[in-house]
Amino acid sequence: MVMMAAVGGSLVAACGCLFEPRDSEPPSSGGEVVYLPRGEAINVWTNAEKALNALDFPGWGDAIGGGVAESPSFRYFPDGQTLQDFPNVDWDNWGREAEMAFINNFFNNVTLVQADLTDSTIFFQDPSGGEADWRFIYFLTVTDPNGATTQYRASCEVKLRLRGSFWYIEEWIDEQGEEDPGTGAILPTMGSLRATFVSR
């Protein structure tokens, strides 16, 4: 037993030398993304919007609990239009892993996102007992490296849960596409965005 402990301890100590992250560049002035404390539920929804606008992968991960063992299991439910347009995506098992893969590919392949996750509020109340259940209309404009833009506007229901010290988005249910305020055309939901990037 003592030998096992010694061998394990030695390898554990050696492991710290194996895995060393790179040095970061000191931040430039004006580039800071000021996230709000995640102890309040609405701050997490605001932070998700900030992460989209800043193309900040860790910020999105904090909102949905990416990489946090105790966080709730994230689930995404697409709308009917997305289900029909992308039948080959494994929507039934869209959890945190698929969401993180999507957001990583998404941020790596676009140059600008203008997001307003509370473009319109359908239902919003103070959370109680560690649960929040809200409905919003969100509006996204996505620009690709060549400058072409695509818009997404849809109603969604989001369920947030308090786990440990922080709130997390536990469920994101896209309901249906909403009208483009400019043209009146019905825009797609973020489901089509997820379907496009998840398999890269």
Partner: protein, 704 residues
Amino acid sequence: MMVLIVSVGLWLVLAAPVQAQSQDQSQDQSQPEEQADQEEVQQDRLGDQPTGAAADTLVAPADSSVVRSLSALNAQAQSGLQQELDSEPFLQSFDVEPSSGIGAEVRKVRYWGELSSTASLEKNARVTATAGYSWDEYRKQDKTVELRDGTVNHNTGTAFPFIMSMNVNWNWKEDQTVNSAGVFNVNKSDVKRGSINLRKPDITMGFMKHAVFLDGSLRDQKGESQGKRTDSSEGISAGGLASTYKVLSSMTLATGIWRQHNKGEGALGEETSPISTDEDSLRFGTFYRRGLWKGYFNVKRTNYIRRYLDYNRNTAGLVDTTTPGVQKIVNELEEKDAISLEWANQFRLGRVGVGWYMARDTGTHGYQASGVGDRERLQDQVTADLSYRYSAQDSVTFSFGYLWKWDDQRVRDATAARGRQINKKRDFFFDWNQHLFQRTSLYFKFSQGLSQDIAENRFNENDRDRLETHSSLQVSSDWEGRFRANMLFSYRQVQDLSIRESRSSNNNVKDTFEISPGYAWPVASWVSFQQNFLISIQYTEFVFSYLPQVSRDNNYNKRGTLNTKVSFTLNERLKLIVSHDYNARFNATRTMTDATGKEFYHIDLEQRISTLDFAMSYQASPWLKLEGATFRTKDVKDSFGRTDSTVDNRSGEVWLGATVNKSWGHKNPLTLAGTARNYHAYGPNVQESNKEYWDANLTLSWQF
């Protein structure tokens, strides 16, 4: 009425004389896929050396929906032959099972009906037909979904020297929504498909064993999405050959080839165009098991060319609707080519086990019309593990994993590639299970993983590293049902580091310490007691918080929880559970550091949430159980900032319901089964739709 008409039609189809025999349709539909999955897992985990049939699974491309595992078919054929009896009557049984039900939940209510008919013929042949209908009404949205479907399946089984199955499917769907602006939208689809599949397993030629399979099908799809047509009709032909060769008693070689061709016509919006797909797959593998070694080596090459109508897409793959002058619908040509190699090996000598797995996947994927252009990708993966079991209960395991992958994109019309988007991952795990003394064991786990994202040529600013370290020590004692106790110490550190200056302001290191004792005490046969405690603190240190351009400051979050649960089994019928959860948390931010390095924090938030639950169940009769539960939550939150505030929220819920499972009649039983619960909730976060609702899942079925 619709269900009834469809069902009668299917009965008429079933009543027609069937000349050929078939095997169990359910075997044909689901079992081969399940078996194929199991064999794949078995191969991945280095199970027993596969037989020739198992090696046949090398043939089919994994993403082809028409492929069946030949090994499963082989098993089917053998099973059918053993059960073949010439003296059986042609029609052995004819079963019909109509069923209907209701499924209610907070989001929607579903009404459904289904009619399933099965004719069992001689030599285990079977013909089945199903017809289904459902209607969904959404409670929070103005939305309805109507589904209709029908299936007829016939399998010839062992009547011929080959296995043949025929399927006809029909799926109809209409999804109607009205959005918040009152705009009506409908999505429709109507898909009809007929297919015929031929299999000939176990063709023995000398030392080799072959299997041949041929598939043919016709598919017609009519669809409408946001007022635009999405139609297609195509014919699909496919064929393959799988061969195995047992070189030695300890080694089997296996090869496979598969080819599929689709041709038809597609319509998107106002455009109509021919569509086609050509898909090939070639595999070679060897499986070995000799002495202390076992493993496999596998090479696979797949490629396809697809021609279809698609919306014009920009360089990110998104539908481009805003660039002026861009053609909205285009004829797309998509090509994909991929090669994968893998080698898995395991060595076991007494109490020592060594294993490794190495794999390489590489390929190209390109579009002629889409702005995405061409992509090249590569992934290398290595895992290795070493385990030592030095007694029946004690073991130690080390494992190491390495993943290196990249993809490189050359957008359409670009002269040069974008640069590689690289992802590297390294992981180390150490597990130690040690029996300390009587009824008490120790479990120690340590893991560390580093993930790195690198954009070659800095084509984006998303370079980042994430280093995660976790260790836990758990001591557990179990006095065989009389008392259980557990103590867990845990430490986790997560470093989230963006490399580029535009993203590095939030770089942080989170350290979390946790202590969690707990116990379970069955006081008597009718009452048990359980408590778990948890104390946790997480420190977040922002790496660049000392710089003036970074406004984030270090903080900590403390929390404590106490969960208590008392269960009563008052008699065989009545059970009660009372539980209480208490959760307290404190968030604080650093305000200053003095000359000695001592840090001072300001508490931003204190929150205490207390929940009392009560649940009961009463078995009123063998087929009826009455149930109910309620909870009350008190949530008090104090925020301390420029102005202090206190929020006191109360919420709760009560539900009453029943679980029923009742049958009438023995020979042709009528069965009612399911649960129904009525919920009532209150609190600030309760919406109109979930103040009062039914959660039910009831099914009424009849067999005759």
